[in-house]
Symmetry: C2
């Protein structure tokens, strides 16, 4: 199977699309732009969900669920947000189908079942949630509200790609309400830090923390914190965002509270989210021409055992050994699968597990049992070693930690090697084509310049890094003065 995968060098985009399908992660569906997330892909997403959910709860958040639909009148209440999403929203206009008199056996929309008010399928839930919060908040005692929702959302994108940009996607959206501006700002930054921690320490994806420029902000936000990752083709990918919404939604939905001085004020808001897009980031950060490479934290099975046998008697002895290994690994918290399928030969199994990125593979044959050794293969480095049976469990345990760390280091080195400081526009354009990656350059701070650069190069400002030093300089495009560098890149 894996030999059919297009190489990254040949066609990166094709490599990605093929990998997603061949590794059984997802596929396109009969609905334009909507994907089917297959069991193997969904199992990885579930691991992300579990860890994020744990982190959210640890930071004091609770889950809840709000309606899929947003009545048009609520949708349009916060102007900027409405403007931002109006062009790409699915709209429910009717609530019934009926037999089509002109087409036997077919159905049509029942013209008499037209909704009085159209319903927008949520592209994001600020509107419906802030309309709800209005009923929950009277006094500072009701604050803060720290809620997260796991949900599907719909944005009618015209050009879609599996995981990276789909009409429907799965995500979590946090929506918090606070008594003070400061508290909301702290929350927005805290959640961006949670995302960075998750990306780096769980997904092994190095990210740069920063804030968006005005033109790249979430529609309706006053500040958008973000984490930006770099893919192997040198394009950036926004992996998560956390928004300080100010009092915009509170004003749009008239959500006031009595503060501890007895005065009425509008509530301060944040929202933050990551989505199944992270699956795309995962794939494009670690995988290779042989297929998926999974950090052990995200692998549905961290180890797979493939039996090599000719007789049923041999299989029986191998099975016994495999079960004992699985039990020992379970104690260590390591998941291990025994691939005992009789419908596939060992070679085909090896290829499949390589394609699907199982971090460690064990092959056990009669000879291994005789010698008291086992062959252990690492997916990330494609290396093999012979391990003495008694050392196996501790070897696997430590190797999984090593793999997790080394994948991060490898991605970090790649990312750091692809940040180029540039001070003139000719070099800027050249680096974008030859070296790709992030360009660290001075910018005059105007949206006009930003858009002009985008028009000329397709590169956008990915973020103003949080750790950017004050440094006097001149805008790479206009030559106007600037006090710190920002990061440009072409992006997904």
């Amino acid at each position: 199977m894996s030999k059919n995968l297009t190489s990254r060098a040949e066609d990166y985009s094709k490599w990605y699309n093929e990998l997603v399908v061949k590794a059984d992660l997802a596929e396109n569906s009969a609905v334009r732009g909507c994907m089917v997330i297959k069991p193997y892909g969904y199992a990885i997403w579930e691991k992300m969900q579990a860890e994020l959910d744990r982190m959210f709860k640890e930071t004091g958040h609770q889950n809840a669920y709000f309606p899929l639909f947003v009545p048009k009148s609520l949708f349009e209440a916060e102007e900027k947000n409405a403007e931002g999403f109006a062009k790409e929203c699915a709209v429910v206009t009717h609530y019934r189908l009926q037999n089509d008199p002109d087409n036997e056996g077919k159905l049509r929309v029942d013209p008499e079942a037209k909704l009085e008010e159209e319903l927008v399928v949520r592209p994001t839930s600020e509107a419906i949630i802030w309309n709800t919060y209005k009923g929950w908040i009277q006094s500072y005692r009701d604050l803060p509200i720290l809620i997260n929702q796991w949900a599907n959302v719909v944005r009618w994108e015209m050009r879609t790609r599996l995981f990276l940009r789909t009409a429907e996607f799965l995500w979590q959206e946090g929506h918090t309400a606070h008594a003070t501006k400061k508290e909301a700002l702290v929350e927005a930054e805290l959640m961006n830090n949670v995302y960075a921690d998750f990306a780096e320490n769980f997904m092994a994806i190095p990210v740069i923390k920063g804030v968006k420029t005005e033109s790249e902000r979430f529609a309706g936000a006053l500040e958008t914190y973000c984490i930006e990752a770099l893919m192997q083709d040198g394009k950036a990918l926004q992996a998560g965002t956390s928004h300080f919404l100010g009092q915009n939604f509170a004003k749009a939905f008239d959500v006031k509270f009595t503060n501890n001085e007895g005065k009425l004020d509008y509530v301060w808001a944040t929202s933050w989210g990551v989505s199944t897009r992270l699956m795309g980031a995962l794939i494009m950060t670690h995988s290779d021409d042989k297929g998926l490479v999974l950090p052990p934290n995200l692998a549905p099975s961290q180890v797979v055992i493939v039996p090599i046998y000719k007789t049923n008697e041999q299989l029986e002895i191998i099975t016994e050994k495999a079960n004992s290994i699985i039990a020992d690994l379970k104690v260590k918290g390591v998941s291990c699968k025994f691939d005992s399928r009789t419908t596939h030969r060992p070679g085909a199994k090896f290829a499949q597990h390589e394609l699907q990125g199982v971090p460690l593979r064990i092959a056990i044959g009669p000879k291994d049992l005789e010698n008291g050794t086992i062959e252990l293969a690492r997916r990330d480095t494609l290396t093999k070693e012979i391990v003495n049976m008694p050392d196996l469990i501790s070897k696997i345990d430590s190797l999984l930690k090593t793999i997790q760390e080394e994948l991060f280091t490898k991605a970090l080195n790649f990312r750091d090697a692809h940040i180029t400081e540039v001070d003139d526009f000719e070099t800027f354009k050249k680096v974008l084509v030859t070296k790709t990656g992030f360009i660290s350059a001075h910018w005059d701070g105007t949206t006009e310049t930003e858009l002009k650069i985008k028009e000329l190069t397709k590169a956008t400002i990915r973020c103003i890094p949080s750790d950017a030093k004050n440094e006097e300089g001149k805008c790479v495009f206009t030559g106007d003065s600037s006090s710190r560098r920002v990061l440009f890149a072409k992006a997904y």
Copy 2:
């Protein structure tokens, strides 16, 4: 707070509605028929999800995710299913809004962004899933497919009630594909047994297993297995269903496979689901006039500690003790919350935890610390006892098990006391009004009789119980011969 709750005797329906809102489980939203599931309610749902998910995986199922939308042409492919859901489905017809020229600041549907084919918001996913399975199944080697999906679905119900019947609800839907009829039947029955096990042993809700009559079956099913519970007002509630779909969907979507004899055949199917409706069943099975009563398995916090103090010094000592209790309980796997809010008095806290059904409540005051005793209050029986400090942890641990068991037994006794064998129609009508509950009666097996009885009494056949004995008798309505009793009831 609790004194404001309408009593069950006064108005059962009002009691239910008030309880759902006052206990902070859910509330109505701005979208007709759609609810907001609040954090406390959602935390209970998460506990159900976690346990069901574990049971599904233990029986070999994997999770996946399929699109929210079903193109009209797929929706109508399986005739009976289409007919069953056409009258209550939300339909997306457009994919964009634009500024309304007649109404400044308002949006309207962009008439130029009309979809070529309407999209139905899934009321259930057989159509989109079987259209997908077509691409996954060629040979018997690809079978069985055992997939579950956690998702939201929409059915445009005209009369809605929180949790029991809402336009959008959350559920899981299993969709499996098999090589033989027998295997599919075994699967459908297995999953009904999983539901029964879950309802009884986790939710403490006794259920009757059986199959539906033809007129009560899922649209498109050949057999619908179900579990039926009895609520405290004597009405039945269908708590879960598992459908044997035969080859209906395989035929509608042309899903054939080569069997192990090399012959082409249509694939056999099942589907099965439970939903947030279970929250309604939970509430109506165990709760009382003081509020929610939660089985310990489903309680977000199984124990709550309320400090009784006058000075900060007292609070400090109590807090120390509380933290030590929480740590000790955690070791036992018991969740315990310390309600240290300074904004509420102990009395108000007691009332809230009673209303929200926390199984055990501990009050700690300075006197208790002096005496080395603690007051432990049971929510279900509303009884209190004084426990010696050293016995507290083991006492709580065993008491939670006792509560779980006793809630089940209590509900079982109530249910069994409300199954009445009836042999004539006058008694049938009378029992429905006076005693309520299930009526076990002979039925002639015709849909005509079933519908006539429904018309006259509003009672439907809830199920033909799996354990019904062969017993010669006469139909309670027509007097025609019958060979076993079925269960009638008014139902939610």
